[in-house]
């Protein structure tokens, strides 16, 4: 500001000098009264660009120069003709009026420019706040914009939301000597923390309008923080409602799906216990039922636990490069007994690569899909397992010749506790496919179901082939004399 004021005085002197030079050139040709106009023009020029002081200086210098150079006796401030005193007075008065009018216009223009700059700055921050999520990031946006617009050091301290004390200052001086300010992040009565700002030494003290503007920035950020808190509350409410609904469904499912096999176990075992003279074949059947029902309950409980672990985020992916063939082999071996009633064909291309996956989890996916096929299709119908590489994904497909899905069920079969309404479908809790989906998603893949032409369903899941298998290991050292000899001929 001071530098600019000094510059104004320099201009006042320079412009008056220029007017004097011009008048000197015109002096021989025009009436002396018209020379006054040149000076007035000079005063207007200075007043539109500089402050009132510079304009005043231009007025005084103009009158004095006019008197000194162009009013007889020349080169003296004395005045021969007293009529000139009137000329001087009017000249001075007109110059001052013009100067103050010009100054007002200039101030208004400056204020408009400043308003525009502030609006733009505030708008820029609002826009960024609107597209930012997370309290920490919002605080970061506020800090950055405040430092840019107000040119100082800013810091934001977030605090748990609490009610503001009504009537508190919008901007408080923390340490006036250091230019330190404190602005509460107040969103309509709720405090979210505070903004601390240290004004640059050159700008101290910060003018009142700048302080008010700083408070507006803080208020804007506070509103964004408030929005964040409210959104979090709403999400929490929704999650709670969803959890409540799931708990109810879970209880219904458990009470039905676990009680039925338990009833069978209880009935069969109590009968066996109390009727020692049962027919040997009936005894055998009852015992086989108990074993089968126990296996069923074990599967249900495993899936229930698996789902709980997946949903609680307790499952950590431990990816390794695993040949899909190996997993398929492990799963079909596990299900050997249950697959007896279903001819299984496995079609894997010879060049099927290893894929980065968590073997225990993808094993679970394959197991559930196969068990699902066995459980939900009539004995004797074939099951086909295949895999292929499409672009940068491995796609595994399991196709059955069961009753297929109802239209619109292709997506819903993956919903928790969803059970198909198709005829001839077996029992189940509706968790197996949900577990599959959870695991496949965790791997960044997709899982989907489609009815097959000619009847039956194909379940497919994809696993992205990202990264590269690490380099092969060095050949083993010849540490065992029994095994030395390289190639086994």
């Amino acid at each position: 500001m001071k530098r600019q004021a000094r510059l104004g005085y320099v201009w006042a002197v320079a412009v008056t000098g220029a007017c004097t030079a011009l008048d000197a050139a015109l002096f021989a040709h025009v009436d002396p009264a018209n020379l006054v106009m040149v000076y007035l023009a000079g005063v207007v020029f200075v007043a539109t660009r500089h402050d009132r002081g510079a304009a005043g200086l231009a007025c005084v210098l103009s009158v004095l120069s006019y008197d000194f150079f162009f009013v007889p006796p020349y080169h003296s401030l004395a005045v021969a003709d007293t009529e000139y005193l009137l000329t001087f007075s009017i000249m001075f008065a007109v110059a001052m009026v013009v100067a103050s009018l010009a100054d007002r216009v200039r101030r208004q223009a400056d204020a408009a420019t400043e308003r525009e700059r502030r609006t733009a700055a505030l708008y820029a921050m609002s826009r960024e706040l609107a597209s930012t999520r997370g309290a920490e990031r919002l605080a970061e946006v506020l800090k950055r914009h405040v430092e840019q617009v107000f040119r100082g050091e800013a810091g934001v301290r977030l605090a748990p939301t609490r009610d503001a004390v009504p009537g508190g200052p919008r901007v408080a001086d923390d340490d006036p000597a250091e230019g330190a300010l404190r602005v509460p992040l107040d969103a309509g009565g709720r405090l979210h923390g505070e903004l601390r700002f240290r004004v640059r030494a050159a700008d101290r003290p910060l003018p009142a309008e700048e302080r008010a503007f700083l408070a507006t920035f803080a208020a804007q950020a506070a509103l964004a923080l408030e929005r964040e808190v409210l959104a979090g509350d709403a999400a929490e409410c929704r999650a709670q409602a969803e959890a409540e609904r799931m708990r109810n469904t879970l209880l219904r499912s458990i009470s039905h799906d676990l009680r039925t096999p338990l009833a069978s176990i209880k009935g069969s075992s109590s009968l066996l216990l109390r009727s020692p003279d049962l027919d040997a074949r009936v005894r055998g059947d009852l015992i086989a039922d108990i074993e089968e029902e126990a296996d069923y309950i074990a599967r249900m409980v495993t899936n229930l636990l698996e789902l709980t672990r997946l949903e609680s985020g307790a499952v950590r992916l431990r990816k390794e490069w695993v040949p899909v063939e190996e997993l398929v082999g492990a799963v079909t071996e596990r299900l050997e007994q249950r697959l007896r009633a279903h001819p299984l064909t496995v079609t894997l291309p010879a060049e099927l690569p290893a894929a980065p996956l968590d073997p225990t989890l993808i094993h679970k996916v394959l197991l559930n899909l196969l068990e699902n096929a066995v459980e939900h299709t009539p004995a004797g119908t074939p099951v086909e397992l295949s895999a292929s590489v499409v672009e940068s994904e491995v796609i595994v497909a399991l196709a059955d010749r069961g009753p297929g899905l109802q239209p619109g069920e292709e997506r819903r079969v993956f919903d928790k506790f969803y059970r198909t309404t198709a005829e001839g479908r077996g029992r189940g809790m509706g968790l197996g496919l949900t577990v599959c989906e959870g695991i496949v998603r965790l791997h960044g893949g997709r899982i989907w179901a489609e009815n097959r032409p000619g009847g039956g369903v194909t379940f497919r899941f994809s696993l992205p082939l990202v990264g590269e298998l690490p380099p092969p290991p060095p050949p083993p050292p010849a540490f065992d004399p029994l095994l030395v000899g390289g190639e086994a001929r």
């Binding site: 698996e306 695993v322 063939e325 190996e326 894997l348 290991p473 540490f479 029994l482 086994a488």
Partner: protein, 238 residues
């Protein structure tokens, strides 16, 4: 319980009374003298005083960690140890196997599975030198159409010789020496590449795949070279 009792001795360390009852019936029916312990401390005591031929150890015990009991037991005894664990705890199984357990059975389990694992564990302990990579007891091993001559280092499928690379052969020989017993990835790496093998076991899977392709009629549905996902491999010879 007479001192002239010549039946093999099995110590069962398990806290659940019903599982103990089921194990008691199973073991006694199959000619074992059954001794039980309901917690880890008693289990260690019984194992020390009864000189068992087999220990069945539940990993979830009320007083001590099952792995702790296992390590303690292994520090002074080479008795075959069969571990009982719950499904989904593959890491625990691996840890137990690497700590010296001979095999594991996953709860809930059937009697066939239990007996099969017991038989293998007892067979390996009865054969001196096996399990530690020492001398091969039988020079020629046959299972199905597979024939492995450990002395001449020859492998045949249905009478036709199959060429294996050095690594594949070592892998096969290791599995044959521990036939029917599960071997963890780490155990296999240590036996094939030496005790300081430092690379990941991703390549073990690749070599295993190659071995299957050369020796299995349908490598995607293996009959002999079984995968225990998350744990390791097992060569099935029956």
């Amino acid at each position: 319980m007479s001192t002239s009792d010549s039946r093999p001795v099995a110590v069962v360390v398990e806290d659940d009374v019903r599982i103990r009852r089921f194990l008691k019936a199973t073991l006694e029916q199959h000619g074992f003298r059954y001794i039980e312990a309901e917690n880890g401390r008693r289990g260690l005591l019984q194992a020390a005083s009864q000189m068992p031929d087999l220990v069945i150890l539940d990993l979830g015990l009320p007083d001590l960690d099952g792995l702790e009991v296992l390590r303690e037991l292994r520090s002074w005894s080479a008795v075959p140890i069969l571990v009982l664990s719950a499904r989904g705890q593959e890491a625990d199984k691996v840890e137990a196997l690497d700590a010296g357990a001979d095999d594991y059975v996953t709860k809930p389990f059937g009697v066939d599975e239990l007996l099969a694992r017991m038989r293998v564990a007892l067979r390996h302990s009865a054969r001196p030198g096996s399990g530690s990579g020492g001398g091969a007891p039988e020079p020629v091993v046959r299972f199905g159409e597979l024939e492995v001559d450990l002395e001449k280092r020859l492998v045949f499928v249905s009478g036709r010789e199959v060429h294996l690379t050095a690594i594949e052969y070592r892998l096969l020989a290791t599995l044959v020496r521990h036939a029917d017993k599960v071997l963890t990835h780490r155990q296999l790496l240590a036996e094939v590449w030496g005790p300081h093998a430092e690379f990941e076991h991703q390549y073990l899977r690749v070599f295993m795949g190659q071995l299957r392709r050369k020796l299995e009629p349908a490598p995607a549905r293996p009959r002999w070279f079984l995968t225990e996902t998350g744990v390791g491999y097992r060569l099935r010879t029956s």
